[in-house]
Amino acid sequence: MAYDKFTVLTSTAVPLPIENVDTDQIIPARFLKATERKGFGDNLFRDWRYNNDNTPKQDFVLNNPIYSGKILVAGKNFGSGSSREHAAWAVYDYGFRCVVSSFFADIFKNNSLNIGILPVQVSPAFLDKIFRAVEADPKAEITVNLEQQSITIAATGESESFDINSYKKHNLMNGYDDIDYLQAMKDEIRVFADKSKY
């Protein structure tokens, strides 16, 4: 699945200061029935976002017009639970390109990188600073620079670096994915498979 290159992203942010946001909250199982990858953003955080009669819950952040942007900032252990890539698709389809948290679940992090969302893991202290900055001014901008592996709160100039392996960084900056890489080494895989025990 090709995706847009990721280099530098400057955007306002949507704060979700809740811990252990699992993939059943990001997209409940009953919305996993499509056979195509489209429209999942409509059901992002469905049960936090809408009442049973499909009216918006006014106190949920996605329904608050003062918050918007391409960066989702969430409490620690974001994306735990199910392996459903639909969760990452929903985050992407809604319009987010970057998720910031102090801790990510493994599979969600992998899935995000595979579809062109950058997961940025920051220290708990820096996460608090971002929450405070966005609370003080919902229009506060955050800059994520993948080349420099840095995240900066524009208003205060406070910055922190983040980790990403150079393979994934290269992929994201160029819009390549793992399937491109694997297709280019199929002969090597075939030789390996011939020696396989199973």
């Binding site: 699945m1 200061p17 809740i18 811990e19 252990n20 699992d22 059943d24 909250q25 409940p28 199982a29 009953r30 996993l32 029935k33 499509a34 056979t35 195509e36 990858r37 049960d47 049973n52 409490g75 620690k76 252990n77 735990s80 639970g81 199910s82 392996s83 459903r84 890539e85 639909h86 990452a88 801790f103 990510f104 679940a105 493994d106 599979i107 992998n110 899935n111 595979n114 579809i115 392996n165 150079s166 393979y167 994934k168 994915d177 793992d178 399937i179 890489y181 694997l182 297709q183 080494m185 199929k186 090597e188 895989i189 390996f192 498979a193 396989s196 025990k197 199973y198």
Partner: protein, 468 residues
């Protein structure tokens, strides 16, 4: 030259690395790939868009389980979206030459039940599926974990995925487990100690007397829930219990191939002196029947205990309060005696024959409580047949329970088996997330014994009080 001592995990992982990428993931070869109707359609669509073929169709196995109905499986599936996904799995499997056990096939059932029971899952393998509970297969000494749909497409098209090697965690549980304590209680206890994120970034090896003495089905229950503490997977070294379970199963090696395989499998254990990144030791005597009170599997306690306070638990007080509010519980509440509405026994965690035997052991001679709706869902048709053959069906029927047909069912409520909003369910499944079993549903995770005790009394009950 003597080799460095290696862990079981190292031995299996390192034998499957096709290429190492500097400051990047390993190109990791996959021996067995399971697919189901929900996380595979977009992967097949991706193949078509890129004009790719399935590289090794004989290494992938398809079964329908996530959204299948658990009654009237002989009739057309009513929900058009589910029917469409089931059709897509059938069509894609046929198109690419993949073995497919769809609805109505006598081998159909939950992917993590049918893999082992048909001898597809073997020690030393690497196994993936677009489902996080693929960790189940680690019970056989395999490296098994859940993947996303992009990775399903990678495995279909190249039999590999790209994975950084996780760190290694050893969890030892020694001693004898007590009366009424099951493998589910052992793993719920471990998750409660480590929290729902405590093993993120790690692959677990479970060792010690408790796991050595555990049946294969019990080991599957434990490994199944490795993901619920954040680990990609968990594994247990294969031993005589493992070999006895596998021998004679349909797709297991036979004759000379069996002897060769067995010789290799016996090497699959952690060498003395091999290093882990972290080690936890627990004592079986500390484990009583467990139950969860919150909205992640780490929020569990011994059934006789009271719900802890936010201060004791630590972490974000707001998140903790949100969780208890969702559940309708309060700090210091006792769990025993809480009224419940539903009981669900089944799922890839507790949907095997030993689970139904345990459930029946308490139900026998008692009656289902009037206030309880119970969904009893075998993990596969083979399990369903065993339930009938062993007379468990008769015990259930006499007690007022009905047996449903196999599938994932109320574990994730993709089909009609949804717990209504606000209702309490004691469930043998694996997740108590908000809305997991239906919008607004409140889940108490527990063992088949605790589920049975709740089903016959209508309230949370210590199963030890009902065991002779």
């Amino acid at each position: 030259m003597s080799q460095q001592p290696a862990t079981l995990f190292d031995k299996v992982w390192d034998a499957h690395v096709v290429r190492k990428i500097e400051d990047g993931p390993d190109v990791f070869f996959i021996d067995r790939h399971f697919i189901h109707e929900v996380t595979s359609p977009v992967a097949f669509l991706g193949l078509e868009n890129r004009k790719l073929q399935v590289m090794f169709p004989n290494k992938t196995f398809a079964t329908a389980d996530h959204n299948t109905p658990t009654i009237n499986q002989h009739l057309p599936v009513q929900d058009p979206l589910s029917a469409n996904q089931l059709k897509a799995l059938e069509t894609n499997s046929a198109k690419y030459g993949i073995s497919h056990w769809g609805l109505g096939n006598p081998k159909n059932g939950i992917v993590h039940v049918v893999g082992p029971e048909n001898g597809i899952t073997l020690p030393g393998m690497t196994i993936v599926c677009g489902d996080s509970h693929t960790s189940t297969h680690g019970a056989f000494g395999a490296i098994a974990f859940g993947i996303g749909t992009s990775e399903v497409e990678m495995v279909l098209s190249s039999q590999c995925i790209m994975q950084p090697k996780p760190k290694k965690m050893l969890i030892n549980v020694d001693g004898k487990i007590g009366k009424g304590v099951t493998p589910k209680d052992v793993v719920l206890y471990i998750i409660a100690q480590l929290t729902a994120a405590g093993a993120t970034g790690y692959f677990i090896e479970y060792a010690g007397q408790v796991f050595r003495e555990m049946s294969m089905e019990g080991r599957m229950t434990v490994c199944n829930m490795s993901i619920e503490m954040g680990a990609r997977g968990g594994m247990i070294a294969p031993d005589e219990t493992t070999f006895a379970y596998i021998k004679g199963r349909e797709k297991a090696p036979q004759g000379e191939a069996w002897d060769t395989a067995l010789a290799y499998w016996k090497t699959l254990k952690t060498d003395e002196g091999a290093a882990f990144d972290v080690v936890y030791n627990y004592d079986a005597a500390d484990i009583e029947p467990q139950i969860t009170y919150g909205t992640n599997p780490g929020m569990g306690i011994g059934i006789s205990q009271r719900i802890p306070t936010a201060e004791v638990v630590g972490g974000s007080k707001a998140s903790y309060e949100k969780s208890l509010e969702y559940m309708g519980f309060h700090e210091n509440d006792a769990m025993i005696g809480k009224k419940i509405d539903y009981v669900f026994i089944g799922s890839c965690t507790n949907g095997r024959i030993e689970d139904f035997r345990a459930f029946a052991s308490i139900v026998k001679g008692r009656k289902k409580a009037d206030n309880v709706t119970a969904w009893i869902v075998p993990g596969s048709h083979i399990v369903e047949a065993q339930i009938r053959e062993e007379g468990i069906y008769d015990i259930l029927t006499e007690a007022g329970f009905q047996l449903r047909q196999p599938g994932c069912s109320a574990c994730l409520a993709m089909n009609d088996d949804k717990i209504p909003a606000g209702k309490y369910a004691v469930s043998t499944s694996n997740r108590n997330f908000e809305g997991r079993q239906g919008p607004g549903a409140r889940t108490l995770l527990a063992s088949p014994l605790v589920a049975a005790a709740a089903a016959v009394t209508g309230v949370v009950t210590d199963p030890r009080d009902l065991i002779a």
